[in-house]
Symmetry: C2
Subunit: 354 residues, 2 copies
Amino acid sequence: MSTLQNDLYLRALLREPTERTPIWMMRQAGRYLPEYREIRKEAGDFMTLCKNPELACEVTMQPLRRFPLDAAILFSDILTIPDAMGLGLYFEAGEGPKFERPVRDLAAINKLGVPDPEQELGYVMNAVRTIRRELKGSVPLIGFSGSPWTLATYMVEGGSTKNFSEVKKLMFAEPQAMHKLLDTLAQSVTSYLNAQIAAGAQAVMVFDTWGGVLSPRDYREFSLRYMQQIVDGLTRENEGRRVPVTLFTKNAGPWLDEMAKTGADALGVDWTTDLADARKLVQDKVALQGNMDPSMLYASPARIEEEVATILASYGHGHGHVFNLGHGIHPQVDPDHAAAFIEAVHKLSPAYHR
Amino acid sequence: MSTLQNDLYLRALLREPTERTPIWMMRQAGRYLPEYREIRKEAGDFMTLCKNPELACEVTMQPLRRFPLDAAILFSDILTIPDAMGLGLYFEAGEGPKFERPVRDLAAINKLGVPDPEQELGYVMNAVRTIRRELKGSVPLIGFSGSPWTLATYMVEGGSTKNFSEVKKLMFAEPQAMHKLLDTLAQSVTSYLNAQIAAGAQAVMVFDTWGGVLSPRDYREFSLRYMQQIVDGLTRENEGRRVPVTLFTKNAGPWLDEMAKTGADALGVDWTTDLADARKLVQDKVALQGNMDPSMLYASPARIEEEVATILASYGHGHGHVFNLGHGIHPQVDPDHAAAFIEAVHKLSPAYHR
């Protein structure tokens, strides 16, 4: 493996000194890039892109060729694990992910096995290895997975949902079945992320997109508890270096302090929480990643720079901040506005690290 | 007007002593009731129900005939104001509300007038008068409106939205146009709610369903500021009695303290904030309404009762709590479970008022 030339992202996650605030963007490889839309059109569908290591690598590299980003993130889907469990993931045009065989009772849950990451999910590990080679040590590679709760919502609902009726029905009416499902998922995510680390991921992130639809009590019992199980089971060092883990729950403002106690190195923060408040809550126990509203990229470059300044000031002086959007970049964003965003962070952040 | 026989709801909103915690349910008149589905089928579409005062009255009364609820709420839609402004509200099966003529630039915004509540919205005032008569003083009648920000999201997007791209594009790229729209809406909501009060609404509620998709800074500037303008302009006394106003922003946990400073009498709280924390935040300056996860109604009556006990304990001893769901009741809920919920509040809450 080549020596890492830019390790700002890894150092920031460990709250070590950096000369400026590192930046990457959630969904930085995606539909807002014309070169992505082209390769996606050729591939035909989204899962073909994910399952072909060369294409996944190419797509991962695209934003890095355009922008001075401080990390690459594996191009994949959060639903690879349930797909590997045999639920039959597919995408309907304009409708988001769906499962052919949703899981709605204990009998179906008991049949689920923990996928072997080098077998059923071997295509992901091959993508990680290919990307690591292609990066040539320029920036670190982030591996990721959906959280157990978030995966469970799709598995029980059979796709996206507005009300989370089915998954909450199971959770409230048959909590033991739900716990069994979440435990199987936590084991699967742990082994999946450890395999990504062994294959070359230098940091990992757990996306809990839907933890925020739970009450604080239910969040602790059905989401955080299983992210804790994952954090406890992760490989924390590889290639002679700490492998930082970031937890991200959307709408997690009120629970950031509890998330900080899991032993994760960093927390993702969406734009509904002020970074100043978040930092007070976690008392510098963890690094923070975030948190510009992705819609701000519709505004003028001058307005974007103003917002970057506000967010940097909100985090304040000192290390431990990774700049990012509070959620994925929207498909309609002009890539030049993304460039202005990244440039603003490069320009304005050094003042906070002196 | 008949004397009010049950004023528990009004007293609780003013933090006056009550012998138990009053309860009503958001969307208590709705699709989970077979008698609602029947009348809705006869009427043909949703807006016909809203625009016919006799039908709106009948539907408002339905849950009160089944359950010992402590308040009635006007059956109407949150989008009546933009409809009255000429945007052409319609509903597509299974798709939610849409507007024929969305508003996306300053020119379109400048053309919008403040509707006359007794003219363009006269059907709502007639419904309020009809319901008040029909209630015969049994319980108070709640009037309501969408908040300016929430109305603006539908008006700019042209319907429901996942990303709020269009409305945020306008907000970030043309903030002055957005402020003009929100000011026109705040004036309209104020005059609409005052007309409902004059027609007989004994309390009013402002639903800010989408304030929670904003950053704290943007929430203050684009949502809370205009709810403040409404609170300042409302008739606060009628028929010799205080007319309490409740503000409800979904996902507003972190801003409850700022909302409490508007002069509103009460705040609605969804299930993502613990009532104990909410009460600490607002320091008993306002009453609190909430906050059971509506999905809990899928669980067994025993589990529902357990959750009611937890929520009552979370608010704790003392007055100023109105029990409710944290959002509208789901259409798939069994009415018997709603009955069990209401019964549990009747049974368990007196202990907290001794």
